[in-house]
Amino acid sequence: MCLAIPARVVELLPGDAARIDLSGVRKDVSLALVDGVAVGDYVIVHVGYALAKLDAAEAARTLEAFASAGRDAPAGP
């Protein structure tokens, strides 16, 4: 459920809104559900609303976790 996508904030708009960009596709979304969003931030967008800011450092950590899967994992049960 809950199709949501991460997109980059390219402009802040009046009325608690922002213009977001995903590979050149731009849309205006509401920021009513999040605080402290700045241009350049990535937000998770669902039905026209930003639900959360995406933590870039955590994203990098997660990707690193995928890459190291198996490297330092326990050998088995």
Binding site: H46, G48, Y49, A52, F66
Partner: protein, 385 residues
């Protein structure tokens, strides 16, 4: 697409698949339920099953708000447009769900009911502003991800005194559904359905946080790993669950740390608490009455409550006798166990709820995976250019 493509990388998928295969104990079976329909869809759409060892089995859960929406509620929505002359604004997901009398929202629209597809609750507000002389009803569905946007719309409508706007609220709650599954006789007492662990929903969790799942880990001794929306997230979550089960742990882990924090989105939760309250009970299609599992609009905002404004009467409609959706939604049966799957019941002519939405277990399997149900001769060897 940043933060999307990297999480779909095939090379990393193979690495994770190898890790899962290595760590899964060949002497045991792992039954993992992915609660969220979006995860069900991702698993089918990427053929994730092909990458798992045979003893790790995914059980599809009821996290599909369209699938669990009772027929009677769709009937009420159609009534509002057709008989009460309201402009009914709805997400496109509900348009083709078959309702009573051979109707659906799509068919009612074809017969003249003013039913409009919107992408956002904000669009419904705009329609209300543009048509002050008409009644506008927003058909609100969805789990906790979709509820805050509805709350914002209601608060905005109040600020603007948009007295022609109201909401037909059908928002449902994730933890209640998980409890219901875990409390069902097949799971709890009979052990018919082994459910070893859960993959927690991605975007619901950005709103509710990881805290609410601790109850399940503690009470039922089942590990929960919250996974992001992309297939690599799901694979990683499966790996983490396998590890927990091997080590005898039952904890809540968060794989989706880039968007989920323990307390979730406080602002969104506050807005939801301002506008909505718990219904004592709510009927879920396929699951029956589930206590404290759904929301209704608080009396303070009754002016925007379509159920109050139009005195909506709910008439329950039973599902087709041959339909196995109830069992499928609880993870007790698979789509292929249902005798009408793929024959009388297809995405074009859905009989049950699991087939109506593209992320329902039956629809996902039919659309992406049913080729595995029949033997196909292997492709002839050809020279690859």
């Amino acid at each position: 697409m940043k933060y999307i493509d990297e999480f779909r990388d095939g090379a990393l998928a193979r690495r994770l698949a190898a890790a899962i295969a290595r760590e899964a104990d060949p002497a045991r079976r792992y039954h993992l339920m992915e609660f969220c329909g979006g995860h069900t869809h991702a698993i089918s759409r990427y053929g994730l099953g092909d990458l798992l060892p045979p003893n790790v089995e995914m059980v599809h859960g009821p996290g599909c708000p369209v699938c669990v929406l009772p027929i009677g509620r769709i009937d009420s929505a159609i009534d509002l447009a057709r008989d009460r002359g309201a402009i009914l604004c709805t997400y496109a997901d509900t348009m083709r769900v078959p309702a009573s009398g051979g109707l659906s929202l799509m068919k009612a629209k074809a017969r003249g009911a003013d039913i409009r597809m919107v992408y956002s609750s904000a669009d419904a507000l705009k329609i209300a502003r543009d048509h002050r002389s008409r009644e506008v009803v927003f058909f609100a569905i969805g789990f906790e991800t979709t509820t805050p946007p509805t709350a914002v719309a209601i608060l905005q409508a109040e600020r603007e005194a948009l007295d022609n706007f109201s909401v037909f609220c059908n928002h449902v709650l994730t933890p209640a559904a998980i409890s219901h599954i875990l409390d069902s006789p097949e799971v709890r007492d009979l052990g018919v359905v082994p459910l070893d662990g859960f993959i927690g929903p991605a975007h619901v969790s950005t709103v509710i946080g990881s805290q609410p799942y601790e109850y399940f880990a503690d009470e039922y001794r089942k590990p929960v790993v919250i996974a992001g929306f992309e297939p690599l997230d799901v694979m990683q979550a499966i790996l983490l669950l396998v590890r927990q089960l091997n080590e005898g742990r039952a904890e809540v882990e968060n794989e989706f740390t880039r968007a989920v924090v323990p307390e979730g989105n406080m602002k969104a939760k506050r807005l939801v608490a301002e506008v909505f309250e718990l219904r004592r009970t709510f009927e879920w299609r396929g699951l029956g009455e589930v206590p404290y599992s759904a929301l209704r609009i608080k009396p303070r905002y009754r002016a925007f409550d379509a159920e109050v404004r139009y005195d909506v009467v709910y008439r329950p409609v039973p599902d087709h006798k041959a339909c196995e959706c109830g069992a499928i939604l609880r993870g007790v049966k698979k789509p292929t166990d249902c005798r009408v799957f793929g024959t009388a019941c297809t995405p074009e002519n859905p009989i049950g709820s699991c087939m109506v939405s593209s992320e329902g277990a039956c629809a996902a399997h039919y659309t992406y995976g049913r080729f595995r149900d029949v033997p196909i001769r292997p492709a002839k060897e050809t020279s690859h250019a």
